[in-house]
Amino acid sequence: MIVFQSVSKVYNSHAVALEDVDFRVNPGEFVSLTGRSGAGKSTAIKLLIGEEKPTKGRIFFGQYEVNKLKDAELPAFRRHIGVVFQDFRLLSMKTAYENVAFALQVAGRPQREIAELVPQVLDMVGLSDKAKNFSNELSGGEKQRVAIARAMIHRPEVIIADEPTGNLDPFHTYEIVKLLEKINQLGTTVLLATHDKEIINLLERRVITLDNGRVIRDEEKGKYILV
């Protein structure tokens, strides 16, 4: 359902972020995208969610051709995915509860549905007692869990996580990965970009390795190998 077809991204005509990238992710898979810092993982994700356009190639998500979407069509497309960013990207003027609820509000869901679902999801990520906190009143781990709750509450087909544990300690890292696995078990496709070798080795799932913008390895039960 996610297809990268000969995708290249070049910034300012000399900085090559991605070169001729080809891969495919099927529904229900749990795929890790790995590589050194600067290998192109975040770029691939930005292209996938339409934040930027590829220099060459095509990107498919379900029936959408992402690189051809117009600005006005992007919001509707983004409601099919849940994204977890490395820098959390929570709305600072909203509480944890409101941040999670926002994902449902943009989809136009009625108030009573929101009032029912949000507490459930906050409970699932273990933040029921922090619902009324603003993001500056939450720790890094808690913020990331709010971000995950927000990413999954509207039951997207795919969850894309860009270095979700980059700012976390090992304990919370483990928790987050377990949470993502649980979500995957429930049927959601997960695309995880990370350079954390512990996670990769722990998961024993499919790993796509990038190096200097190119796909150098794509293994079903991947391990993190220092290039």
């Binding site: 969610i49 339409g50 934040e51 930027e52 600005d71 006005a72 992007l74 919001p75 509707a76 497309f77 983004r78 409601r79 994204v83 960013f85 990207r89 929570l90 709305l91 600072s92 003027m93 926002f102 994902a103 509000q105 943009v106 989809a107 136009g108 009625p110 108030q111 927000r150």
Partner: protein, 302 residues
Amino acid sequence: MFTVFSRIIHFGFKNFWRNGWLSMVTVLIMVLALLVFSGLVLFGVVTDKAAASVQDKIDISVYFKTNTPEDQILDIKQSLEGLSEVKSVEYISRDRALQIFQASHQSDVVISQAINELNTNPLEASLNIKAKRPDQYALIADYLDTPNMTSFIDSVSYAKNQVVIDRLASIVNTVTRGGLVLTIFLALLSGLVIFNTIRLAIYSNREEISIMRAVGASNSLVRGPYMVAGIIAGVLAAVISLIVAAPLVYFVSPYLKVFIPGLDIFQYFYTHVFTLLLYQLAFGVLVGIFSSFVAVRRYLRN
């Protein structure tokens, strides 16, 4: 549809409140801009009144020969009133003229005695003509210059005062027109100040806007609350600026009265306070909405 709408309003209020300091500063700047705006409105009232009071002082007096019968004078009065340029014509009979003269020279013993010495009334009957506009007096003077008039007329004061009248006319004209230009210019200026203040406020929110878009919010859900906040700011600014203006106007009013008699600016202010509030609301809210709409647009593109 209704859900989206009520959410936009809800977010608008919440954002305005939670962005506390920023919202307050925006409103404050809008208050200053609106004070300028209402100052302009009041300034317009003052110039109008000043111009009118100057114009009122200008007139032509036509003095008739003492042997002219009153009917003749009244006929001429009627024909003058028929002219479209004439605002009013006042008839002062010879007796009335004497009364006025005596009253104004009551304290002067010599003159009072001299009047008593005379057997006949030396004063002439006159018609005091006011035109609708100062530049029309030349026309009226021309009208009086025809032979059937001049046989009865002894003198017309216009000839002596012509230079002054013309000069006053052009001053009144310039002030009125200059006042209008100034008003438009300063109104534009205060509008631009409000526009840029709101633009800066929304600039400082650009991160939030991009996050909302990343989560999939539609353009209206992103833009709407900011426009609501713009409306709230406009309303608050309008009300606050009038509350601030009231004591200022009250303070200035007696000073203005000295310069332009008949002008009670404070009275004008409180009798027209709702009209002024309406102008302010219209200006503040319209500029607020427009500014928010335009300012957010930049961050809705990728």
